[in-house]
Subunit: 324 residues, 2 copies
């Protein structure tokens, strides 16, 4: 029997966590399922434009949002949502390890890293293949690593790995590193970094864990290199394969949302970078999450025959209207 | 000659300040005009549902937003906007003390306190008449005060004043105080509070400052009372008299906005509680402000023939798309 919650949230970035804060605060049972904590917040070492925080960082904001969510009684598990379907009791959420049902769900998966696109890649995920250097570099202290990527992602990854790993191959398509000049200068001074320009990774292999990668350069010359870990830093994309069969997407493959977070499915609400909001900002994700969370709560209340929370928090005492 | 800015923001609550953060960060000249700092944030002693802050308060959030705005180079003045008009160079903003022009404006006036509705009321504003007990009670230490109001606003005002003033008349329409029982019990124990039920304030008078109020009860009996200050705690409303002649309002008298903060006027953008957003939450005001601010910036950039900031902060390096 799948475990039941009133509302399930998919995604642990700013949109999902904010939805959770507003739902859990209303004392309904609420589970947040995410691959990680923070999502793209983990890519922001210095955060200066989130209203209300000074000298902050993406991971610190993520941790604060998580604290708020848990403080209000929300539950969180780390798992991957594979498919969402309509069932008699509401919505079924199938994850890699389990199955859940809910009366309503809030979908806030954000963007996920781009794959390298080689055979067997998924078999080595977290067994040598990693998509977040900031998250996973510490596992490679004293080991041999490679990073393939682009732009600032690549530079940051190289610098981070150079502090941990004994050897780093930095693999990139162009003839020269691009981006911040100080960072490039720092990289060029590191003795444990070997630059591999005009190249890409053609294939990977190993047993239980990744063991070798095959690097190919622009002239087609191949080179097999032993590595313990390969970091893929190729940017990110929206992936809605788990839900696109039951909600309407727009031409950009984002979930179409109204300003209150409603989608084409009455029990499914959405927020964040995977939704059709005009500016993909953290504060927009948080606000979208709050709206979607309140709309999901109101939907569940309505199923129970209750009025829900009024949209603009008006309260009438005597003959005077209060606005909260 | 009116002073010129590229963008002017009307309103210093969470929406206006957030708009300011996103505009000033783009290094365009930006003036924020507001009656106060924080607006309705000043009514929130304990703030627990703003994503990203724990153990905070409305005034602390307002101060943080102001710091961010000023840090990015924004300017702020305390004044009241009386009228907004279209002029050849863009938009003219007339305030009580001055006049400004801008290429675009962001309108985020939020809600303002309800008046008492008696003659000469405006003449005594801040000269005995106050609409925010939390803000102004400290000016009445050891003095005689009255508060007229409803519900929780009234209770909070009474308790606050009881710590400062030597005497407090609490005037209300009903037969008994309504709201939180502990607060009512606390009020009933205060020796310096005199409850005046089933009553209202019929008129006020004074010289330079307020001196007397005339209280009338349900039976029509009048009583003149000497007071140094009268606090009006009657909730709040949206007031768009200064701009309703050039932007479209909806049936609730809110400025109609699209999800990116655009209004019916191409050079006017809006956000916050005075705009047609579904949930009047602080984080929604901040996000609306960010969106309106970015849209205003993009509008001004377009006037200069520049491309503006792309909506979803994509960046293409080589053949890979980055999402910020």
């Amino acid at each position: 029997m799948p475990q039941e919650y009133e509302i399930i949230i998919v995604g642990g970035g700013p949109a999902g966590l904010s939805a959770g804060i507003f739902i859990a605060r209303q004392k309904v049972s609420c589970l947040l399922i995410s691959k990680d904590l923070g999502g793209q917040l983990n890519l922001i070492p210095k955060l200066e434009n989130y209203p209300g925080t000074i000298m902050s960082s993406g991971p610190l904001l993520a941790k604060t949002l998580e604290n708020q969510f848990l403080m209000f009684g929300g539950e969180m598990i780390y798992d991957t949502v594979e498919r969402v379907d309509e069932v008699e009791s509401g919505i079924k959420v199938k994850t890699t390890r389990s199955e859940f049902t809910a009366k309503a769900i809030v979908v806030a998966p954000g963007k996920v890293p781009n794959n390298l696109g080689v055979e067997n890649e998924s078999a080595f995920v977290n067994k040598g293949i990693h998509y977040c250097t900031k998250c996973d570099a510490p596992f490679y202290q004293g080991k041999t690593t490679a990073v393939i990527g682009v732009g600032a992602y690549l530079l940051e990854s190289g610098i981070l790995l150079s502090r941990m790993a004994s050897k780093i191959y930095m693999i990139y398509k162009g003839g020269a590193l691009g981006g911040d000049k100080e960072m490039i200068a720092a990289i060029e001074k590191k003795e444990n970094i070997e630059l591999v320009p005009q190249s890409s990774v053609k294939s990977i292999s190993g047993g239980n864990n990744l063991q070798t990668i095959t690097i190919v350069d622009n002239s087609g010359t191949e080179k097999v290199v032993n590595v313990d870990g390969l970091f893929v830093e190729m940017g990110s994309k929206i992936n809605l394969d788990f839900i696109k069969h039951i909600v309407k997407l727009n031409t950009k493959n984002e979930i179409e949302v109204e300003s209150d977070g409603k989608t084409s499915h009455p029990a499914i609400f959405a927020a964040g970078d995977a939704s059709s909001i005009p500016y993909k900002q953290i504060v927009a994700a948080c606000s979208g999450g709050a709206n979607a969370g309140l709309s999901a709560f109101n939907y569940v209340e309505k199923l129970k025959g209750r009025p829900g929370i009024r949209a603009d928090w008006k309260k009438t005492i005597g003959d005077t209207v209060f606005h909260y």
